[in-house]
């Protein structure tokens, strides 16, 4: 996601929004698609609320809460990383990115453990519409998170380059925007899967 470089003689135009346009197009379209998924969930839930409540009861809110806390912490670390990047404290920014990656990785480990527990206690994706949504939506979110971790690795590589410039700063902001979107999606999933009754 490296933004194009500018020649040394060109004045950098003032940006009216963080990151680059394309990442906002990506985020808004992805959120729209997930909104469609949530609408489908709500539609199916209205057909059999008791079944969906039973499914929600089978999930441990504490698991979801810990995961929410992990991603919120990760987002805070990414915010600090972006701030440090703007002030060219690149080593500090890299450290924040490291810890953000740890929070994301721990989230994924938690997810795998939670999936294993659900399956071993008899809750498979085909068991009921609720668990189909649970596994598919959280699974798709996990894929987004893995992509986010790869993007953070790319950010670390940029932060260690000797000629870090304004274009690289835009790339860091763009990855941060994507990471926050992943966090936002999880908060919505936590609310509708774990809390909605």
């Amino acid at each position: 996601m490296n933004a194009p470089t500018q020649s040394a003689n060109e004045v950098e135009p003032e940006r009216s929004f963080p990151g680059e346009l394309g990442v906002w197009v990506f985020v808004l379209l992805d959120l729209a698609i997930f909104a469609a998924f949530f609408a489908m969930f709500a539609w199916d839930r209205s057909d059999d609320p008791a079944l969906f409540n039973e499914g929600s009861n089978a999930l441990l809110v504490s698991w979801g809460a810990v995961n929410t806390l992990l991603l919120l912490t990760g987002s805070l670390l990414v915010v600090w990383a972006v701030q440090a990047t703007k002030e060219r404290r690149l080593v500090e920014a890299s450290t924040f990115i490291n810890w953000a990656m740890v929070s994301g990785a721990v989230f994924l480990v938690n997810k795998v453990i939670e999936y294993s527990q659900k399956i071993s206690s008899g809750h498979s994706p085909g068991e009921s519409p609720f668990f189909t949504y649970y596994f598919c939506l959280t699974g798709l979110h996990a894929v987004h998170l893995v992509i986010g971790l790869c993007a953070l690795v790319h950010v670390k590589r940029l932060l260690h380059e000797p000629d870090f410039g304004s274009a690289d700063e835009v790339s860091v902001e763009s990855v941060a925007i994507y990471w926050h979107m992943v966090d936002l999606l999880w908060i919505a999933l936590f609310a509708i899967l774990y809390l909605m009754m």
Binding site: G22, F26, L29, D30, F37, M40
Partner: protein
């Protein structure tokens, strides 16, 4: 015909015709919306194919015609990738292979639907149901080559370091998102009901819609970079040429 004019016809006209022919075939002629449910009985599915036999046959024909335009459209993208982007040879090769496989998949699913409509009144309803299932699952399950195509193009767009790139970077982001959003098309193999089945919003409609939205977005974005020249005029060798053509000369 100048090279630029040829590219324009292959890419812009071909891109729009590809979409129009497929949508007319699938939606208007075959009347696959709303799609048949996997939960229908063999008799119900056979009835649908008998009732709209000619429509499905014509629709299958139109869909297969649409795939004739994919080669030229995709080839313009491969050519741009190879000439203009660092690492372009590899990315163009990935696009070319993915395009060829995707085209084959598309032709096969249209063929299977056409075959199901060939003589449904004379064969066992279970055979018609199986051919119908085969068409829909062929339409959706082999999504990875389509994702590879989108992702290869997205990466190529991000690697374009020109000051005024031919492709705007937002198209790269849309390509990556499209590649990701094909993934739910894997679910219809596991579900015969809910929105994850081959007649569902998540299992079919979203992957289907994002593909043609991607085709149109890429066609629109790149069309603006292919100038239209009068085919009867002498080529003006002193005029500025677009970056993509210039890179081709430089090799």
């Amino acid at each position: 015909m100048s090279n630029t004019r040829l590219q324009w016809w292959m890419f812009v006209v071909g891109g729009h015709l590809m979409t129009v022919f497929f949508v007319v075939g699938w939606l208007c002629l075959a009347q696959f919306f709303p799609p048949p449910s996997p939960e229908l009985t063999a008799q119900q599915i056979t009835h649908r194919y008998v009732e709209n036999q000619n429509g499905i046959r014509l629709g299958s024909t139109f869909m297969m015609l649409s795939f004739g335009f994919w080669a030229g459209w995709g080839a313009v993208l491969c050519s741009w990738t190879r000439r203009s982007v660092p690492g372009g040879d590899l990315l163009a090769s990935i696009q070319l292979v993915s395009l060829a496989v995707s085209e084959m998949i598309g032709v096969l699913c249209a063929f299977l639907w056409g075959l199901a409509a060939f003589r449904p009144e004379q064969i066992s309803p279970e055979i018609t149901m199986t051919l119908n299932d085969a068409g829909w699952l062929m339409f959706l399950l082999p999504w990875p080559p389509f994702s590879a195509w989108c992702i290869a193009l997205g990466v190529a767009i991000f690697r374009d370091r020109h000051q005024n790139p031919v492709m705007p970077r937002w198209v790269g982001y849309v390509s990556l998102l499209t590649g990701l959003l094909f993934a739910p098309a894997a679910l219809p193999l596991f579900f015969k009901d809910t929105h994850f089945a081959y007649n569902g919003v998540i299992g079919m409609m979203i992957p289907f819609a994002v593909f043609f939205i991607w085709i149109q977005a890429v066609t629109w974005a790149m069309a603006r970079a292919i100038p239209i020249q009068d085919p009867d005029a002498e080529p003006d060798r002193t005029a500025a040429v677009p970056a993509m053509a210039l890179e081709g000369v430089r090799g």
